[in-house]
Symmetry: C2
Subunit: 372 residues, 2 copies
């Protein structure tokens, strides 16, 4: 069975250099609070500055614009929290379909999540007119998952420039989740939002290592934001959750120093992407675009039933679990998200996809959907 939102390293296969660096940190006594200015151990701080420069084209002052936190989940929560006041009528714009936790965070904080719909005919890119329709005087910020989860969309430069102009016109902040920034296919250009003209001051960037480096059990993430935001985040992080595991940070530093293993995994994901896509597109009534980023298919099954109905059917008929699209916002109804990262064993993945294919073919026939 495919599990909903799993890591890409479920098995004992973290690269040796990461394990060794973590063990060395344990042997070296790096086992106490990491309460340095950016809550980062020195080698991680140094490595992140380089990574942000080389990979993201972002110049970051590590003492004032960077903070290490225990997860991107926390980073997103804290980033949104800092933009709004609880129960004061503040609104947050969420791309819909979008990452489920972002909708929850807004509600938990006591603000209102306002959907900005994106459409399959645009490849789920953002329309400026939809942003303009959603904004009100109560809007405080936009949340952007880039690439988007669940649609896999890698936003184009002109689209992001439109978003930037919109933020400037309405004087809004943006919280950008870059969890899947390293999982981009077909040599697409990936743009770090904060590098756009005038956007560094408006952007709270959240970076994880669970997707980026596959280090799901390490619990290390980091954020880049303007100094006045980081200053508040330091206090909030200390109060809400405290510093991040110390020796795990050494492992993450080693991961960023040599992340070539991720390229190897991306070859596997790319193969699986093509394999699953070829199967899904054969099914009458099912629509799916080739994923642009991340490692999930966003599958339009409206012709076959609701998200929940088809999810339940796949559990019973194919013994495979997938995520119903309505988890990802009101505009996710009629879709399924199918992960292709959850099993290290590609043969098992292929078998699961074959079972999905077979079951959905059967369902299409039951529903009388015409063949392609």
């Amino acid at each position: 069975m495919l599990v909903g939102a799993d890591p890409f390293f479920p098995d004992p296969c973290i690269p040796d250099h990461i394990i060794e660096a973590t063990k060395k940190a344990l042997d070296g006594g790096h086992t106490h609070y990491a309460l340095d200015n950016s809550y980062a151990v020195p080698p991680l701080k140094e490595t992140l500055v380089k990574k942000l420069k080389v990979f993201n084209h972002l110049d970051v002052d590590p003492e004032n614009e960077l903070i290490v936190v225990p997860s991107s989940a926390f980073g997103l929560y804290a980033g949104i929290r800092i933009c709004v006041r609880p129960n004061m009528g503040d609104e947050v714009l969420n791309i819909d379909p979008g990452f489920a936790e972002n909708f929850n965070d807004v509600v938990q904080i006591g603000a209102t999540s306002v959907s900005v719909p994106v459409y399959p005919e645009d490849g789920f890119q953002i329309r400026r007119e939809e942003l303009e329709k959603a904004v009100t005087p109560n809007t405080r910020c936009l949340v952007l998952t880039h690439p988007n989860n669940p649609t896999s969309t890698v936003y184009k430069r002109e689209v992001l420039e439109d978003v930037a102009a919109f933020l400037e016109d309405h004087d809004l902040m943006v919280v950008v989740d870059q969890s899947f920034e390293r999982n981009i296919y077909d040599n697409r250009e990936y743009i770090t939002f904060a590098t756009l003209k005038g956007m560094k001051e408006r952007t709270i960037s959240v970076f994880g290592t669970s997707k980026d480096l596959g280090l799901t059990g390490f619990r290390v993430a980091y954020m880049v934001a303007p100094k006045q935001i980081i200053d508040i985040l330091k206090i909030a992080t200390f109060n809400y959750v405290g510093p991040t595991n110390t020796f795990a940070q050494y492992g993450v530093a080693a991961g960023y120093q040599d992340p070539s293993y991720v390229d190897e995994w991306m070859k596997v994901f790319n193969y699986r992407r093509q394999y699953g896509y070829n199967l899904l597109k054969q099914i009458p009534g099912v629509k799916c675009q080739l994923p642009e980023g991340g490692y999930f298919f966003w599958v339009d099954i409206r012709a076959l039933g609701t998200s929940t109905e088809v999810r339940d059917f796949l559990i019973k008929d194919a013994n495979v679990g997938v995520s119903p699209g309505n988890w990802f916002g009101s505009h996710g109804e009629g879709y399924l998200r199918i992960m292709f990262s959850t099993m290290r064993d590609t043969a098992k993945y292929e078998e699961a996809m074959q079972r999905i294919h077979q079951s959905l073919m059967k369902l299409a026939e039951l529903k009388g959907v015409a063949g392609k």
Copy 2:
């Protein structure tokens, strides 16, 4: 310089069995998300059930009444959050002087912190009449740090029974921070609040490992609460911060399986406690009780100046940093908190305490406070 709120293991001295268990977990591939039902890896779950039974006399169903979280800071925040609604006029009772973060948490959540003063003439035990004075129809819960930080008070059975009766009479929840439960002197009885009659249903117990086992950089804590609370906490934890570092949990499990090293450290702390107490009580105008738990002195310096004045004087004159009492609530003014855990080197600690002693003697003379 003594640092404010440091661990008791600032140096490379975590016991070998803990380091080895953590390394073994890394070698064994225990590096992925720990998303089991209680967010605990199996050996930690099993160990915690035993520890809670033997140490706390608490029977816990690990699937329904336990959750592992990345820090007691998070546990306290989440525990308080679950009891109140943001910006709806809800009130939280905080013992004052008390742990600074608890006051902040309440404000951050959008509730009002109401102080329950405790008095030196009672050894800072809680008076039922003060609870009754502070409670209103808007009160949702009480926060208890036990032993109290900064006063070091270990609450007596009859006092806790009074608190329990109060909670029952007013139908309130309690969030209990047991961070220092293993740091008790003079064979005092330590009572886990949830074991009192009728209190398991009303108690959210928060346990850390930074103070309890000295594992500050591991970032592993846990909570015990009724099933309906844990059910919400599981969702909230997933959303706010996600699971806890996986391999660190194996280290913590080993720590609880053999925590005898803590007893060794308690002997050191006990020596330091007596050493510092003997120096402090000689100073004219300074009052201090022998700490009952934790590892800090709560020093009445009202005769010498305000908390901030005396703190600043000690920085300049003795080159030693201590915490001003007004950090710990409005009733902390006129006090200092002095840690005796911050240095592994007892000789260095003694030197710092001698410098504090010397400086405060000088200050007493400057202020014309009569000798003892």
